[in-house]
Symmetry: C2
Subunit: 212 residues, 2 copies
């Protein structure tokens, strides 16, 4: 009986794991599509066709378009954290971590982690005038990101006004993404890197640059 | 006969003028709606109801939804030029004109000339992945604006790299608009003003600030 029960567990686990894998695949593709065409461009039928899963299979995972959109936003946020936030944690709080974080963001946008550039830039303007859970979720992640940059900036003792500096640094990142996505400007990321470097030097953290 | 002809002209003119006025009214309202809900949110039926004109009347002016969208973009550009670009022309090319231009842009966004903030910010993300005449028109006005800021910056002799400075200044403006529209941040415009002031001072144009 014990043996039988354990086989049963393995079988269930296998099914759960396959289900999880399909779910991840669906959300990965959904985030790619949404970064180019917006979250309204998502359809359960289209995802099923593209990923060669049954429509009812996709539906079983999400149940409604709104749930699919919410899950897509969460999946994009997880990818963002893995690619931008986590790598910077190898450095202790301070200027080096901030630099890794900003470089990581620019690489995330420039390397087209999502084909439409920054996922959140793409879906924010789409949903800012549509009250509801999807907008709240997008706005919530945006606020978290802004706060995290602000905290990271605030951990540098030389910085007099962390809110002001965080505002300016994030402005450079978003401008690079927008100029690249909308106007195909090949110099946008380099300009953002120059701007970040200058601004950090000006903020009284110049010493560490001079040492490099 | 001459008298009759002149009456005829007056009648035609009157009709033309009334038509022009209706057209302007329709486009003004269309631009307001689009700044909040996007250009896809425009419908001839809705505009007719709101403005108490007949649907066929609105249709007679534009003929198709695409024409309505294109005319709305042009109307918004004309409002933008009147509110942001023209007032700065009272100053000769140079730092004072640049300051008026940047202040004018921040006021245009902060005073909600369009209820959804900057019209172009609102519709750019909506159309960046929809190839066609509407996207080309929006992108064209965006490029013209960027070039105009760059030229205005380049007219200041002390500025070493006008492309870089224009990139950073526009980044501050757009960040203020985005933070205010998306996150209701009451400090966004003040942060942009501080950022602009610091950056211009840093660009070697500090003398004129000191004189004020």
């Amino acid at each position: 009986m014990v043996k039988g029960a354990s086989v049963e567990v393995v079988k269930v686990d296998g099914r759960v794991e396959r289900g999880e894998q399909t779910r991840r695949q669906i959300l990965r593709r959904a985030a790619e599509i949404a970064s180019v065409e917006g979250l309204e461009g998502l359809s359960i039928g289209r995802l099923a066709t593209e990923l060669e899963v049954s429509k009812s299979g996709v539906f079983a995972h999400f149940g409604s378009k709104e749930e699919l959109q919410l899950s897509t936003v969460r999946a994009a946020a997880a990818i963002f954290v893995r690619q931008v936030v986590e790598p910077a944690l190898v450095e202790p709080p301070g200027r080096a971590r901030l630099e890794l974080l900003l470089d990581g963001w620019l690489a995330y946008s420039e390397n087209r982690t999502f084909p439409g550039g920054c996922f959140f830039y793409a879906v924010q303007a789409e949903f800012d005038a549509r009250p509801g859970r999807v907008r709240d979720s997008i706005a919530g992640f945006g606020r978290e990101w802004n706060s995290y940059v602000r905290e990271t900036v605030a951990a540098i003792p030389e910085v007099a006004d962390p809110d002001q500096l965080a505002f300016e640094l994030v402005a450079f990142l978003e401008m690079a993404n927008a100029q690249s996505v909308l106007h195909d400007d090949p110099h946008a990321y380099e300009r953002a890197r120059v701007a970040v470097r200058n601004r950090l030097a000006q903020a009284g953290t110049a010493a560490s640059t001079a040492l490099r």
